[in-house]
Symmetry: C2
Subunit: 370 residues, 2 copies
């Protein structure tokens, strides 16, 4: 095979028949660079556990290179980035799911802070109540430095993205179409702003039209990017329930917002709650549940935790965090050295702790996570 | 002690200082007839495990007989019945709690069917939504032959009683005042109807005015009489949360009806759901949860299960139940012998099973519980 654009074999991995995210993950487990699969012999590929014979044939006989060259031209013309599975910019949480995409098309940029993401999804035909709750939750999450992930659909999705942006926070939209093809049309402006102040992502080839059968797979990316997913309003047949199911499968938290008994738009959320999803009224209910996860993660896993405070962190928060980066301190010492009021210090410490930036040891000794 | 009215020593048990329901239960465990405690020597009473010295003195030196004679006259004049702990008419579930009252004052009569009771409680300042749900649930429960228990307060309580009566079902009101003193005044008519088509009960002496400090103790009777308690609307400081806590302590189910996020009247219910209460939208959600309890109970405990179908059971239900009382039958045989449509038979069998009247053995053999 002649030398090509370094992205070409990645796009090719996305087009090998029958490979999919699950097969791709098997390759990623066997090859430091999964695109080496195209250079491997059938005998070598047979060593990859669980890789189907037809996938091996698909890899060995892959012949779609011209189309890929063509797509890469369109990708560049449209100002689209490609984030490969092996890139440090590929979302760490998404890397952990059973069927991660080999790469993501992105408009705008995914950043390290997006690892602290929460999904907000729900009905396209949301009620005023549902939209209000979606806005409140998105604003609250954004102001705490969380990235809000959703699907840019009408209703709840749009309200969540919009509100996160207005709060000066980050938001990520995962499309069920090519990343350059926003849908619905009335969200064109929103799409622009998300790609400027957050990121729009898709795993689907440039030019893919929004088709309903792509949405379930898209939903696994919404939950895959997130610590947890909040279902705001969902009928019993809502795609949001698929997102919730994916989240569970991926070991992510599932949250659901209650509504009135008998309200058809809340039936799905109520079912989730009965099945064990956490009932959520305010952002605090979400934070309470994901704080241990953040702490665990900061405690030292294979993921590189984001050690920079959210951009919107206040001056006093930065001051305290810097103090603790120098030395573990007692609360009294933090109060003294920061020159801030005790109540304010306690509030900031709690917030930093919940967000996983600060750890409390016995004896009320606070230290910055590293 | 001279021979008195047979009820007098029971009323006296209710007035011995420091005895209470817990102490009374200890006496009930030691004496076949707990009123024998008045005839027992201090030495004998000291044998009762955990009975405090001052309670023993209170029993030995009890001197309130004249007041009791006086109360008994008033009880009779007001047409009030007294149901003693040792009477077969005393509610079996209530007998099981840790602090049962020695007796209940009743207006109207408690019947065997009242063992299948569900409590519905909630805010006095209920919303239209809350009242509507309370009515729907009470009507549904009543039409399935359940007795609806509540506290006859304004708001949710009143709506639940009212709706159960309108559905032709039974309802029991537990008062936090003397049983002859309905409160609030606008429920005078409701009180009349409950005492005619159900029962009003209280453990408080005739003449006791409705005082807030009596309500928590009253709430333990609401849950104590019930298989489970549904909290429809409750603020965070609502007495309904006390009822829910009592229910948990008594091993009864706790159900809560959701509302919109941020609705202050639903905050208590949402908290309960987060703590593990079952989210309830319809009667089916309640039945699903208590069906196993009913089945267990019917399976043979110390309680005598009510083997009579609810009064409002339909003709076909009675027909099928009678068939099964003669012989265990396969579904096919039930269909054949009843002459009813298969779908109808299956529905009735399911209902009878859920209500604990019918048991299904392996091989789809149905038999009537005895």
């Amino acid at each position: 095979m002649r030398v090509r654009d370094e992205y070409a074999p990645w796009l090719a991995l996305g087009r090998v028949k029958g490979l999919g995210g699950v097969g791709f993950k098997k390759l990623a487990a066997s090859f430091a660079d999964p695109t080496e699969a195209f250079f491997a012999s059938p005998a070598e590929l047979e060593q990859v556990e669980g890789l189907h014979r037809d996938v091996i044939e698909g890899l060995v006989n892959f012949s779609g290179w011209l189309e890929i060259d063509d797509e890469l031209r369109r990708v560049r013309a449209a100002g689209i980035d490609i984030v490969r599975f092996t890139s440090p910019g590929y979302p760490a949480r998404l890397r952990m799911i059973a069927d991660p995409p080999p790469f993501l098309y992105t408009k705008g940029a995914l950043v390290a802070e997006d690892e602290r993401a929460v999904g907000i999804v729900g009905s396209r035909s949301a009620s005023d109540y549902g939209r209000r709750v979606a806005r409140d939750l998105a604003r609250g999450l954004a102001s705490l430095g969380f990235t809000v992930v959703s699907g840019m659909a009408r209703g709840i999705d749009g309200a969540a993205h919009e509100s996160a942006l207005r709060a000066g926070g980050r938001t990520v939209a995962v499309l069920g179409s090519g990343v350059e093809r926003p849908y619905p049309p009335e969200h064109d402006g929103l799409y622009q702003r998300i790609s400027e102040h957050g990121a729009v992502v898709s795993e689907l080839p440039v030019g893919t039209r929004p088709m309903a059968f792509n949405f379930p797979a898209r939903n696994r990316l919404i939950s895959g990017l997130s610590l947890g997913v909040v279902v705001v309003e969902a009928t019993e047949k809502s795609g949001s329930l698929i997102t919730a199911a994916m989240a569970l499968e991926q070991g992510r938290e599932v949250f659901a917002v209650p509504g009135e008994a008998g309200a058809s738009r809340s039936r799905g959320a109520h079912r989730l709650i009965r099945q064990g999803a956490k009932l959520v009224e305010t952002v605090d209910d979400i934070i309470e549940e994901i704080a241990p996860q953040l702490a665990r993660r900061a405690g030292g896993t294979t993921e590189a935790p984001a050690r920079t405070l959210p951009r919107n962190a206040g001056e006093n928060t930065r001051k305290i965090f810097t103090l603790l980066q120098d030395n573990p301190l007692q609360v009294d010492q933090v109060i003294e050295r920061s020159g801030l009021a005790a109540a304010q210090v306690l509030e900031i410490l709690l917030e930093l702790e919940l967000l996983g930036f600060v750890r409390q040891s016995p004896g009320h000794l606070y230290s910055a996570e590293r």
